[in-house]
């Protein structure tokens, strides 16, 4: 075991760090910086400038092949870059879904011409992408989606509704999975496309979440036409193509925002209890801090182990599933407990809220985190089946024609 960089990594780290020093400000504790929740249009403009700067310096997407705007570097260099960048106050990325999920799908299934056209502007931040998969009736059961695609000459005509689409309202392009044949079995009747989000008939409506933020959208399709040349994979291969995207999603999700155990530690150190002592002197509080610290540290080291494996070119394991299924409930519990330490004053939210509303915001944000990108329940199924080799659930929908599967309506 060795937590040090290789000489190559160390050299790269030095290079990156000095570039960042020259081009960004270091984060300052207690200062919100560019990553605070800002209106997305303004945020997008700032982020595009930063992404363009990174792209110009060659740091935008280190692992991608050079012909598409990357540097063809080993994965670990990307990690080195991310670790360094994290210490700087740079705008939040609006490009993660495009670069993390859409680009790998395009690289696998698009024509060379399409890749040349679409990937470089993704890398440079000029064009933003989104992913149109989930539907109101197809969340955990993604393959239950029903958005229809009907072939009409050289085009396909799309009708239906997608939901939980991050960034749809500012995206230029999207990847889309549809059902072209309801008489086939569930996983067989799907076909995959990419499309111009400005196409006529595409309507985007924001979804307001519990937290008040709108990170997601509903997207309605009314007779939207997509050229057959923008089909990814064969007719009926939609599920296989989707799995490429989703495999990359599992790499992207995982962590949770603060507050974490050490935030509770700090709150407890600065909050007095009944006896005038700091809450951190209370054994019950200490045990809570310890429990969550052990979880948080476990997740941190699981990530380190995964990075080690990735850097050797090994396939990603179940680490992201573990991380998500642990960190989302942890966020919910830590948030609720932090509020408890503050008594009824812990209910205050907004400008006058204690500890910058961190615990109150976490409380409102956590329920979504336990659901989006795979519920706690789906993730446990995945771990049980893929890691422990336990049998799948009994399926009543697998081999039926899609149109005959019970829907309860």
């Amino acid at each position: 075991m060795d937590f040090n960089d290789t000489p190559q990594q160390a050299a790269f780290r030095t290079e990156v760090r000095s570039w960042l020093e020259a081009n960004a400000e270091r984060k300052v504790e207690g200062k919100r910086g560019l990553n605070r929740r800002i209106d997305s249009e303004k945020g997008l403009a700032i982020a595009k400038v930063w992404q363009a700067k990174k792209a110009a310096a060659g740091y935008a997407c280190l692992g991608f092949p050079e012909e598409y705007g990357g540097q063809g570097r080993p994965l670990f260099d990307q990690i080195v870059y991310d670790q360094e960048e994290e210490q700087f106050d740079v705008p939040r990325s609006f490009f993660a879904i495009g670069l993390g999920m859409c680009a790998p799908t395009m690289m696998t299934y698009a024509t060379e011409e399409q890749k040349q056209r679409h990937i470089p502007p993704m890398v440079s931040g000029e064009e933003v992408w989104c992913q149109l998969f989930s539907e109101p009736s197809a969340g955990s059961d993604l393959a239950g989606l029903g958005t229809r695609a009907v072939q009409d000459g050289d085009d396909w005509v799309i009708n239906g509704q997608k939901v939980w689409t991050s960034g749809a309202h500012y995206s230029d392009w999207g990847i889309l999975v549809t059902r072209h044949d309801r008489s086939l079995a569930k996983h067989k009747g799907l076909t995959f496309f990419f499309l111009d989000m400005k196409s006529p008939g595409v309507e985007v409506r924001p979804i307001k979440q519990i937290s008040g933020a709108s990170d997601f959208n509903e997207v309605y399709f009314t007779n939207v036409r997509i050229p057959d040349s923008q089909r990814l994979g064969g007719v009926g291969d939609g599920w296989t193509v989707s799995l490429t995207t989703l495999m990359n999603e599992r790499l992207a999700v995982g962590g949770a925002p603060p507050p974490d155990a050490m935030d509770l530690f700090k709150l407890a150190a600065s909050t007095q209890l009944e006896d005038g002592e700091p809450a951190l002197a209370d054994r019950a509080v200490r045990e809570k801090v310890a429990d969550w610290y052990v979880q948080a540290e476990g997740l941190r080291h699981i990530r380190s182990r995964a990075l080690t494996a990735l850097s050797r070119g090994e396939a990603p394991g179940p680490e992201a599933s573990i991380s998500k299924v642990v960190s989302a409930p942890k966020l919910q519990d830590i948030s609720a407990y932090g509020m408890d330490l503050l008594d009824i004053g812990g209910s205050i939210i907004g400008d006058e809220a204690p500890a910058d509303s961190a615990f109150q915001n976490g409380y409102l944000y956590a329920p979504g985190l336990r659901i989006a990108g795979g519920t706690d329940e789906i993730l446990r199924n995945i771990i049980a089946e893929r890691v422990l080799g336990l049998p799948g659930d009994i399926r009543v929908d697998r081999d039926k024609p899609f149109e005959d599967i019970p829907t309860g309506r």
Binding site: G144, Q272, L342, D343, I349, L364, P367, I405, G408
Partner: protein
């Protein structure tokens, strides 16, 4: 032995439930939640007053209907189930109980009849900002008949007519009764995680006030009022938890995934069984608490703490797993799930969180065992 509500009590409960179902469906708390100009639902409050709900446990001699606490507990459960956005807990569980416990004959005559008829809304002011207030840390003072300092957040502090204030007097802590519409009082709304129940910061600058009970007894009186209120809060929490369970079970029967109702998956079935189990444990502790409250039993401190702890945890669990059962739709603003999730947290912090009550419970056990 008969560990159940009487038929008359059950009829009252059903009547309350029916009334609230029609007068206070979930669009009502949502409206108060979303419209910051509306601090509470005047219509629902009027309907509760109309059925004499605030008068339930006030003796007839003070203008009440003198039903008693089992009846009030029955009403409280239904108030909780409906998420009624009204000052019921502040005025009835806290202000009324404080005056009943500590008021002079004159004070009782003056204030209880107004509380009974809903002519006045009362509240109880303890908190002084984030963190615990303790007997030694009170910054609001009472001297020479006047209050000085700031209480925040005070539940219904923006709409209440008067408040019972826990203050540091000249010879120890005391309760002081203050007219919130009078001189020397300024109030400012405070946003909380549950905007369907309004709160305010109240600043007293020489506001005239009268003692409630004797000087030096304030902290002890506060604790005794909270013991009683804990059971009524617990009944509200139980009502809310029960509503969450119903909502989740209904949804899980109707929502299909993988060609079957999601309620047929053990992950959901067992989760909801766990919600049910916690709710029933809370219900059992609450009913026992209701009995202790109604008979002023020696077991009251233990019973109150057990009811409070169990109901906090049942409601928190039910409201979060209700969202989880709903999946994606559950964490949208338009879904009603979060109204319960927010109320559940607010109620868990009112009159002290679970950690405070667990400690009180063990202290009560120590006293009992020492006796």
């Amino acid at each position: 032995m008969n560990f159940d509500f009487s038929d008359a009590q059950k009829a009252l409960k059903k009547q309350t439930r029916d009334m609230l179902r029609s007068a206070c469906d979930l669009t009502v708390p949502r409206r108060v939640f979303e419209d910051s100009s509306e601090s509470y639902s005047k219509d629902v409050w009027a309907a509760l007053v109309d059925m004499e709900a605030p008068a339930t446990a006030i003796p007839e001699e003070y203008g009440g209907i003198g039903f008693g606490y089992l009846e009030l507990c029955a009403v409280a459960e239904e108030v909780g189930r409906s998420l009624a956005p009204v000052p019921f807990s502040s005025s009835v569980y806290l202000a009324t109980e404080a005056i009943l416990m500590a008021g002079s004959e004159e004070q009782k005559k003056e204030f209880l009849s107004k509380l009974a008829t809903g002519e006045a809304i009362g509240t109880f002011a303890l908190s002084e900002g984030p963190g615990l207030v303790t007997a030694n840390s009170l910054s609001v003072t009472y001297a020479g008949g006047k209050l000085q300092g700031t209480k925040s957040p005070v539940p219904d502090g923006d709409i209440a007519d008067f408040a019972v204030v826990v203050a540091e007097g000249t010879t120890g802590s005391c309760l002081a009764l203050v007219d919130l519409t009078g001189d020397g009082v300024s109030r400012k709304p405070v946003d909380t995680v549950d905007p369907s129940r309004s709160h305010a910061a109240i600043t007293f600058d020489g506001a005239p006030a009268q003692l409630l009970g004797s000087e030096g007894a304030g902290w002890d009186l506060k604790n005794r009022v909270f013991d009683r209120a804990a059971i009524l809060f617990a009944m509200e929490q139980l009502g809310g938890a029960d509503a969450c369970l119903q909502m989740a079970a209904d949804y899980s029967r109707g929502r299909y995934a993988f060609g079957r109702p999601i309620g047929s998956f053990q992950a959901i079935k067992h989760k909801l069984a766990d919600v049910y189990i916690r709710n029933e444990l809370a219900r059992a502790n609450n009913y026992y608490g209701a009995w202790a409250l109604s008979t002023d039993a020696a077991e009251l401190p233990m019973a109150a703490a057990a009811a409070r702890v169990g109901s906090i945890e049942a409601y928190q669990f039910a409201s979060k797993e209700n969202i989880q059962t709903h999946g994606g739709i559950g964490f949208t603003w338009e879904s009603d799930c979060h109204l319960f999730y927010r109320r559940s947290k607010l109620l868990s912090l009112s009159i002290g969180s679970a950690r405070v009550w667990k400690d009180r419970l063990v202290s009560a056990l120590e006293s009992r065992n020492a006796a």
